[in-house]
Subunit: 314 residues, 2 copies
């Protein structure tokens, strides 16, 4: 499998309707990492057979991890969303980019004691996960930052006024923020210029919603990257391997016994391949097409028309 | 002079203290295009001798044009700003990127009759100039767009609801907007995806203010460029030659008898060189250093410590 999975030139195995092939594939893995939207559901529509498929995997003793780049929700919010769709889950099975970023900040970045606050561009999901890790933050959903920039702000920022630019901020963390504004961008820029580490929960340029696309977390980082002359943030979401390292750090699995399941070749499948997982499984219910999977640059080890086709193994 | 001005390898002539050199230089030109901030003033501080220097040029029969990338002000606003600093001027002497963009839309783009509205990301300067050219617009400073995106907006945008996405919009014009928000970015993106021409008043990533830098007009375009997979706007500000063409179209001067004066090698001086003007004059009261002018990639034909050094010719 490992050689199948290396890149580009193999023909992915088509598993729909191939019961022996599915059984052989499932036997190779103890852990399944699931991308969610486009795999388990689309928007608010649960795909038929999703629950039965997850039940089948659980009944075979497989560990399931839901891996999402959506930073606006915390893991607890995600459990609720899964419940609302009828999928039983626990916080421990969820790995979101807001959680990934929070544990990166609290456990991997070694910040000086007087530089441990995080300036957040983003929504409540990030704040909840930072709080859970005991990390102090400002910005985020605080109404004090949801205002126009005022004439005196320019002078206060230029002067480094500590009531507006907290000297203890050592990290700027940028996720999807539905309340992005000029003041937040100006403050984030000045914090980074003053030495703060530039992190992003993820760098997806767009966010799928209602069957079309809207600005994604990457679009919140874009103005800062331009202002900083091209400096890119460290991204803690797929396909960045900092997220895989964090997942492995938490679940302690053998990578050759893990499989990444996703609908996007360039993020999900790439994430599994670059993470040297034992396998990758594409599904055709989301962004990538059969053409992408069998002839694209990044190809899964195997693919299915839809996730529930795994039920055919029985 | 033309050969001096071609690029990169010549040594710019240093004119401060060189009265005969200054006289010779001034005699070559009938028109002087002035960048403003960093040349005539800095922020709200008028440089000593600015007025006397402009008077000298006017007394010698030179045409003066103030060329600014600042799109937040209209030409009328600029006349007021100049008056406030004690510089007499007329609207006819001002060429701003908001004006440049407006005449590009009204006179150069040949839009179909049912696609002539402009969706504006920007402030009042753009709106005033569009109105003066008889161009219909929406967005801009309209309070209806200064709000959070609502859950139903996603569905309305996805459905192409004509009360939110006006089918007559054929242009998206992006300038500096102190009230940038998620809804405006989402609408601009969808207008461009539906075929609107993507224009920017200018693409400066930062805006100098209070002695430091803040998000510039280019930072408003950055999220859209990322969402559109790298599609860049046509910029109507310096150093884009669309602006030079517009200036020439209005003032009808001979380019070899015109000189661009500026403090930034990469925008002002480049603008003059690529526009094949007869000369370029750098001043050391703004962004670029002597090192930039004498050893950089883009070098002016001549330079001065400060603009008022031109007074030494007498």
């Amino acid at each position: 499998m490992a050689s199948d999975n290396s890149a580009s030139t193999h023909t992915p195995r088509y598993l729909t309707g191939d019961a022996p092939g599915i059984r052989e594939f499932l036997d190779k893995f103890d852990v399944f990492l699931f991308d969610c939207d486009g795999v388990l559901w689309s928007g608010d529509h649960l795909f038929p057979g999703t629950n039965e498929t997850l039940d089948l995997l659980r009944s075979k003793g497989k560990q399931i991890v839901f891996v999402t780049n959506n930073s606006t929700k915390s893991r607890a919010d995600y459990v609720k969303k899964l419940e609302g769709l009828g999928i039983p889950s626990s916080t421990e099975e969820i790995f979101s980019s807001s959680y990934s970023a929070s544990i990166y900040i609290s456990r991997i970045l070694h910040l000086p004691a007087d530089k441990r606050k995080v300036f957040v561009i983003g929504e409540t999901g990030i704040e909840q996960e930072l709080r859970a890790e005991g990390v102090s933050y400002l910005g985020g959903t605080d109404p004090a930052y949801r205002r126009e920039i005022a004439p005196e702000d320019y002078k206060r920022i230029a002067a480094g006024d500590s009531t507006l630019l907290d000297p203890e901020v050592g990290v700027v963390l940028v996720g999807l923020d539905f309340h992005i504004n000029y003041l937040k961008l100006a403050l984030a820029y000045h914090y980074i210029r003053r030495g703060a580490v530039f992190l992003a929960t993820n760098i997806d340029s767009t966010l799928p919603n209602a069957g079309t696309l809207f600005p994604g977390a990457g679009s919140m980082s874009a103005p800062l990257i331009m202002m900083l002359g091209g400096q890119e943030p460290v991204s803690l979401g797929k396909p960045n391997q900092a997220m895989m390292d964090a997942i492995e750090g938490k679940f302690h699995f053998a990578r050759e016994r893990a499989c990444m399941v996703g609908d996007r070749a360039n993020t999900d499948i790439r994430f599994g391949i670059e993470g040297k997982l034992g396998g990758t499984l594409g599904v055709l219910t989301g962004v990538s097409s059969k053409e992408d999977f069998v002839a694209g640059e990044v190809r899964p080890a195997a693919y299915l028309d839809k996730l529930a086709d795994l039920l055919e193994c029985e």
